[in-house]
């Protein structure tokens, strides 16, 4: 956190060195994402050689069957995964900085569960909603949990307590999800359950079209909050002293972060731990907590992590596919425990 402050003071050569480091990391991540994309389009039940993949994606050429496989199955799934990963990572980075809490993530704060409850209700009861507005409804559910957390920030600044409040909200919404789910048709339950873990199985362009408008507007907006986020990292009192209206800013940040998460929940379900892990990895990679750099790079890394996890989910037990949420849980939870260890350590010192 202090590095962010010192950086503002320094500038000049240091600043340009940083910029080049950030752009270097970003380009490496972009290249990796591209490589992973080619790989994701290549492998599967129909193997397609890389040259063919590139020809099919970038030209009108290629044979008919691989073309259909790539354009209507693998590419939309990859694009959806990348979009979802980017949104989750940015959402997590914003929540972590806004709450000054290393463990803050939509999954652990109960925000994802709240969003899931609303989506599950709409799906189970076949409620007619205007086309493409599902993310808004998910946002409402997420905000219910977010509001609780926001109010808690007025009562306590203890990050651990905050996470436990989130866990309580999560348990409450989780019980309500079960109530809703048992009212549903048994045949629908399987799909619904896979969605409740977080899944990219069978996501197509229609799903991308559903999520894209929300993600495409929220992601750039989130970058506008980089500066306030940097101030919030200094602590509420300091931020207030520097002229930031802390509570109002934090509420706005919450809305944007929860909206990003809600768009993902509406389409892929509550995929866990990407939002928690990606920002931490980025802070480690860049050796800074400056949100102006962390947010965009987190988006890239989140996309890389989620599409990579999805590739694993597709291939580990091929031809059976796992929901990607399981892979992220398995990879992410040890990291979460590690972060917890650090958080409690800091708490002791304080």
């Amino acid at each position: 956190m202090s590095s962010a402050a010192s950086q503002v003071r320094d500038g000049g050569r240091f600043e340009s060195a940083r910029v080049s480091k950030v752009s270097l990391t970003a380009s490496i991540l972009l290249i990796a994402l591209f490589g992973l994309g080619v790989l994701a389009l290549m492998i599967g039940i129909t193997q397609i050689p890389p040259a063919e993949v590139l020809r099919i994606v970038f030209t009108d050429g290629g044979e008919r069957v691989p073309r259909i496989v790539i354009w209507s199955v693998r590419l939309p799934r990859f694009v959806m995964g990348a979009l979802a990963g980017a949104s989750l990572a940015v959402s997590g980075a914003m929540l972590q900085d806004a709450l000054k809490n290393e463990l803050a993530a939509p999954g652990l704060l109960g925000v994802s569960t709240g969003a899931s409850l609303v989506v599950a209700t709409i799906v189970i009861f076949n409620i007619a909603i205007p086309l493409g507005t599902l993310p808004i409804f998910a946002l409402v559910g997420g905000l219910a949990a977010g509001l609780m957390i926001l109010l808690v920030t007025r009562l306590t600044r203890d990050p651990v307590r905050m996470i436990l409040v989130g866990a309580a909200m999560g348990a409450l919404f989780g019980a309500l999800i079960t109530v809703v789910v048992v009212l549903g048709e048994p045949e629908e339950l399987r799909a619904l359950y896979s969605w409740l873990v977080g899944s990219l199985i069978g996501r197509d362009w229609q799903d991308v079209r559903l999520a894209l408008p929300w993600i495409a507007t929220s992601l750039p907006v989130s970058l506008l909050f980089a500066r306030p986020l940097n101030l919030l990292q200094l602590g509420d009192d300091m931020a207030e002293g520097l002229g930031l209206r802390v509570f109002r800013t934090r509420a706005l940040i919450f809305v944007v972060a929860i909206a990003l998460n809600a768009a993902v929940v509406a389409v892929c379900g509550p995929i866990g731990f990407v939002a928690l892990v990606a920002p931490h990895m980025v802070r480690g990679l860049l050796q800074t907590s400056d949100s102006r750099q962390v947010l965009p790079v987190s988006a890239l890394l989140g996309a890389l992590l989620l599409t990579g996890s999805d590739l694993l989910a597709r291939e580990v037990f091929s031809p059976a596919e796992l929901p990607v949420g399981l892979v992220t849980v398995v990879i992410g939870s040890p990291l979460a425990l590690f972060l917890l260890r650090r958080l409690i350590g800091e708490r002791k010192e304080a």
Binding site: A171, L172, S194
Partner: protein
């Protein structure tokens, strides 16, 4: 901690403390009354006299006897026993972690048991408890293995070498919440492999439900209760010493880590026994012991028995609520397709009660966090 309130309560030496045996007796009377109420509510109305007559085999109609003996009494007994077990488990966990927030659900013990049981059922396609087949003690034992594994995982991950307490209470609960989340992700995945019509029943069970529990289930739950509840009550001395703090306990010659592990195993057995029959009823092991602590203070000799009584009462009351509250009206208001007679699973009732209570514990300034 709540200790200030506790000492104040203790100094006043309330009725519950002065006349503890009498108080426990009153709790038993309340239990008996609530069982009658529990049996009375439902689609077929009974008067209390009819129930008592049916219970002592003097019913005027055989239907009464069948309904009371065959359906409602076992459900009431299962709910009562499960509540007692979860309450004792919660009290033990709160004592060994010296943490007012510890609870089987929050410490990952329940979800570990559920995961093990779900795995067992899915792999062993036959004789599942939901088909009315007597599964004997297999499910509680499997559940106990899962519960201990999960509880140990939480305990070991939160163990810190070199700190005075060995285990930071706060850390324990947070690790527990994380592990419970991981468990539930795996439960969902295992369920994906189950048959579609089974999924619904299993889901209902994972949140905790007492509906349709009959004598088969009673046969599963009572041996575990008969083994584990006395064990838990016998360990009171151990728990009392442990509660003084690790340093003092060590000074008194107690092998702290072993004592704690033994108590954890008992708590896991209690939890697994209850969970294997009624599912992961949440938060009840949090509320019951807390209420007991408020009434009887922190002395484990009174705390444990009273936690058993209070939590059993609480689960019976929750189950009565779950049976009487139908959410059909919600369908009428919102125009949703909810069946008229749809009820809440008892786990949903306890979550609705318990989550706000948990929030209250977290946010009142005094909590020992």
């Amino acid at each position: 901690m709540a200790s200030q309130a506790l000492t104040r309560t203790l100094e006043r030496r309330g009725f519950a403390v002065r006349r503890f045996p009498l108080f426990i007796g009153l709790c038993l009377v309340a239990m008996a009354l609530l069982i009658v109420v529990h049996i009375a509510v439902g689609t077929l109305d009974f008067s209390p006299t009819q129930i008592v007559l049916a219970l002592i085999n003097q019913a005027e109609e055989t239907l009464h006897r069948q309904v009371v003996w065959g359906l409602r009494l076992p459900r009431a007994l299962v709910a009562l026993t499960a509540g007692a077990m979860l309450g004792l488990s919660g009290a033990i966990l709160q004592t060994i972690t010296r943490n007012p927030l510890a609870e089987p659900g929050l410490m990952g013990v329940s979800s570990g048991a559920v995961l093990a049981i779900v795995l067992f059922i899915v792999t062993d396609a036959g004789g599942s408890i939901w088909q009315g087949v007597d599964s004997g003690l297999a499910l509680p034992l499997v559940g106990m293995v899962g519960g201990i594994a999960s509880g140990m995982l939480v305990y070991l991950l939160s163990y810190q070498r070199g700190t005075v307490g060995g285990t930071d209470p706060m850390r324990l609960v947070l690790v527990g919440v994380l592990v419970a989340g991981i468990n539930s992700a795996f439960i969902s995945v295992v369920l994906l492999a189950a048959r579609a019509d089974e999924i619904q029943r299993v889901i209902r069970w994972t949140v905790g439900s007492t509906s349709g529990r009959v004598w088969v289930h009673w046969d599963t739950i009572w041996p575990v209760a008969a083994l584990a509840v006395p064990l838990g009550l016998l360990s009171i001395g151990l728990a009392n010493v442990l509660q003084l703090g690790d340093g003092v306990a060590r000074g008194l010659g107690l092998r702290v880590e072993w004592a704690r592990f033994g108590l954890l195993a008992i708590a896991a057995l209690l939890t697994a026994g209850a969970v294997s029959v009624v599912g992961a009823v949440g938060f009840i092991g949090l509320i019951g012991p807390h209420a007991a602590r408020l009434v009887a203070g922190g002395d484990v000799r009174r705390l444990f028995p009273l936690s058993v009584a209070f939590t059993a009462l609480l689960l019976i009351v929750s189950d009565i609520a779950a049976r009487t509250i139908t959410i059909g009206w919600l369908g009428l208001i919102t125009g949703l397709d909810i069946p008229q007679t749809a009820g809440l699973p008892v786990g949903a009732v306890t979550a609705l009660l318990g989550a706000p209570f948990f929030l209250f514990l977290l946010l009142r300034g005094k909590a020992a966090l």
